[in-house]
Amino acid sequence: MRGGIRKRAGALLLALALCLGLIGCAGSGETVLTIGVYAGSYWDTPNGDCYQILDHAIALFEAEHPGVRVEYVSGIPTDAYSEWLAEQILKGTEPDLYFVLPEDFDLLVSSGALANLDGRMAADPAFDPSLYYEPCLRSGQANGSQYALPHESVPTIMFVNKTLLEENGIQMPGNDWTWDEFYDICDQVTNVDSRQFGVYDYTWLNALYSNGASLFDQDGRSCYLADERVQQAVQFAKKLNDLNGGYTVTARDFDVGRVAFRPFLYSEYRAYQPYPWRVKKYSSFEWDCISMPAGPSGSNVSELYTMMLGVSARTKHETLAWELCKLLSMDESVQKELYTYSHGISPLPAIAEDSEMLSLLHQDVPEGSGFSPEVIHDIMSSAVVVPRFDAYNQAMIMAESAVQESADGGTTGQSRMLTAQREINIFLNKS
């Protein structure tokens, strides 16, 4: 009796193993690779066909890798993408590779969700880090290792109201302009009575990057608030603000053509420059973009935001995921499509500085554009990747309130900064 039960149990186990084996075999017929992607544009610009680049890359990839099917969930809006990704990670269903928003990068690295790509990069002969702009690649690094590859980048640039400058008889500044020129122009343009101003939304943070300074070190352990270059930036921003005689300039002032300058993301320039958009948003004046003005200790440097691609640390198809990641990041035909279907700059100099592409881009601008391949090269290779770490937001609030206080307090500013710097350092080292 007992022997009979054992035999039956054995047979049952065997059948079960067979079933599992069959399922395994059937499953291995086609490999499904999943990729996480958001809908629309991360850069807050209208984007008609957001999956075009991805679909093209997937077609290329599937042709290259027969038996592999790439899938993605469509329709996740950009602002819900981080939450969606976090949910997938909690449920353990995250895609094999996914787009990494700049603000999520630190969290994804420190929680161990992203695979370290150092080994892959070193072992893959087709991968060459020198093909990238260094700051773009650096965006995907943490703790000295590469965790994500850049897909597209967007630097901060300066919008210029050409019409307003012409009205005031001022020449369009060059791409190598300085704080002094910037201040002079603002000074000339500003006329508080007729609601005419030099600049909108230019803060001490914009100023400090172009003054060669940085507020925090790369791993977020120390703050340089009392650094002289930071102080210069704070002073300069205050000086510019003082020109407005107490009036708070608004976005609307700029939109109606009453402000000469406004720092903007490159993507805005790209999105609104082509004909239909240009009419819609800034139709009352002619405008163009130039790089940020250089401070006394810095150069025409701007902040860089980079959309990246990372491989999940738990993927079962790491090689395939890496291949697709590389394709989206490095393949020239894929990257070229950024010009058509997105508003960023390719992290690859070969594409970003392609003059044919640039002239295509600028054919809508009546009087030609200030963006030559050289300018793009300068902006991209010197751009600053703002360190994003755990306590970044809180530390930033502390720094901003200290700057605000010192701006209000006048001469006691320096000691207030030192105190604040000490407090922030303590905070950073505690968190």
Binding site: S82, E83, L85, A86, E87, I89, L90, K91, G92, L107, S110, S111, G112, A113, A313, R314, D390
Partner: protein, 441 residues
């Protein structure tokens, strides 16, 4: 054991309770994960724990399947008990390994499983050293298998992180339930241990009492034996006295009276006197026969029942059995058919020699050899004992010498050489006994 039933009841309750605890932790973690996702708090959760959690199915599947295995091992080891030591150790080690697996698969939220396994094993293992070893290992597991100690830096998510998703009331309920169950587990463990040890103590006391009774009975038996011996001795003495009185007394009285009558008649009637003295002589002869018969009655039982050869073999065999000394007995003296007194002497020599070897020399090997050259039978007894430090004869040897003197035999003894090749380095006795040809007289 007396409270075996209570113990197994507590064990079953503990197994059930631990199952609920595992289920509790698994459910909270899985349910919270999905609730977090439903309420769009996944990103906040991830930013606060900064750690990719394990796959949600992992904790319940791993911990419950390992727990099922643990239960199976525990039940099987009681259903089909084994006495094979390696197997028993393997079972215990398997239980401890499963316990570790469960604690790890629960992300170290709960280490009370170690108490369950500890109770189970302490009951199962009787070997003191091994039991102590398991107690130490499992206590360490219980004390240190905690999230706060082990997993804090290994990138596991704290249970409190999951709890913090809920509002204060729910958190209170959950932590209350958690500590209630954990406390119950500890209390059950303590109860189990108390019952187990009091049960063992009672058993020990019972055994001690039985032992005392046994010792008492033994003492009584010994006293009884001593009394018995004394009584036997007394009876024997009485028998001898009666025998002497009945035979010798009677005969001697007759002889004296006959001799007196002979003397009185010697001059008056020499013929009559001669007759009388003849009667006295006959009476003396009859008396001697009577004495012989009496002495025969005192012979060793063995010789009374069987031949000397058989008696000696029996003696050697018995001695080997009772003392476990190894005895090399070789009989090369041909047929052993001698007069009763000679047989008695030979028997006593062998008996005394063996007894001395074991009693005084503490030997465990004895060689006995019987040879015959003409009318002289030689008995040699050698042993591997410590020999004798004394030179004077003890009672046994003196007695032996007296017996031999009576029969005209000779007798040597002493220590053997310490370098003897055959290993007999103790004491030796050699007896030469001239035998009268024929049996008896």
């Amino acid at each position: 054991m007396k409270n075996e039933k209570e113990l197994s009841t507590i064990a079953v309750v503990m197994f059930a309770l631990n199952f609920s605890i595992i289920l509790f932790y698994s459910l909270i973690c899985v349910a919270t994960t999905f609730r977090l996702c439903q309420s769009f708090s996944a990103y906040d959760f991830l930013s606060s724990v900064r750690q990719v959690p394990r796959y949600p199915w992992q904790m319940p599947v791993q911990s419950l399947s390992l727990y099922a295995l643990l239960c199976a091992v525990s039940v099987l080891k009681n259903l089909r008990p084994t006495e094979r030591f390696p197997l028993r150790v393997a079972i215990c080690v398997a239980e401890i390994a499963l316990c570790m697996g469960i604690i790890a698969s629960l992300d170290f939220y709960y280490s009370g499983i170690a108490l369950l396994v500890l109770a189970d094993l302490v009951h199962y293992v009787r070997n003191g050293k091994m039991r102590l070893c398991f107690i130490v290992v499992l206590s360490l597991l219980f004390a240190f298998g905690r999230y706060e100690i082990v997993a804090h830096s290994t990138g596991r998510i704290a249970f409190t992180a999951y709890l913090s998703y809920y509002d204060q009331t729910a958190q209170g309920w959950f932590t209350g339930l958690e500590s209630l169950m954990v406390c119950c587990n500890i209390l059950l463990f303590v109860l189990f241990m108390i019952l187990l040890f009091t049960g063992q103590k009672e058993e020990n006391a019972r055994i001690r009492k039985l032992n005392e009774q046994l010792n008492q009975a033994n003492d009584q038996l010994r006293d009884y034996a001593v009394n018995m011996e004394r009584m036997t001795e007394m009876r024997e003495r009485n028998r001898l006295a009666r025998e002497i009185h009945d035979t010798l007394g009677h005969t001697l009285t007759g002889i004296i009276m006959g001799a007196d009558a002979g003397l009185a008649l010697f001059d008056a009637a020499p013929e009559e006197s001669k007759k009388r003295i003849q009667v006295v002589a006959q009476s003396a002869r009859d008396g001697l026969t009577d004495v012989r018969r009496s002495i025969k009655a005192l012979r060793p039982d063995a010789l009374e029942r069987s031949s000397l050869a058989e008696a000696l073999e029996g003696l050697v065999e018995n001695f080997h059995l009772t003392t476990s000394a190894e005895i090399d007995y070789s009989q090369e003296a041909g047929p052993l058919e001698f007069a009763a007194d000679e047989e008695d002497t030979l028997y006593r020599v062998v008996q005394e020699g063996m007894t001395n070897a074991v009693r005084h020399g503490h030997a465990d090997r004895i060689a006995i050899r019987l040879t015959r050259a003409g009318d002289v039978v030689t008995v040699s007894v050698r042993d591997n004992g410590s020999g004798s430090g004394k030179t004077e004869e003890g009672f046994g040897l003196r007695h032996m010498r007296e017996r031999l003197d009576m029969l005209g035999g000779s007798f040597t003894y002493g220590n053997l050489s310490k370098e003897a090749a055959d290993g007999y380095t103790g004491f030796f006795i050699t007896v030469d006994l001239p035998v009268r040809s024929g049996k008896g007289e």
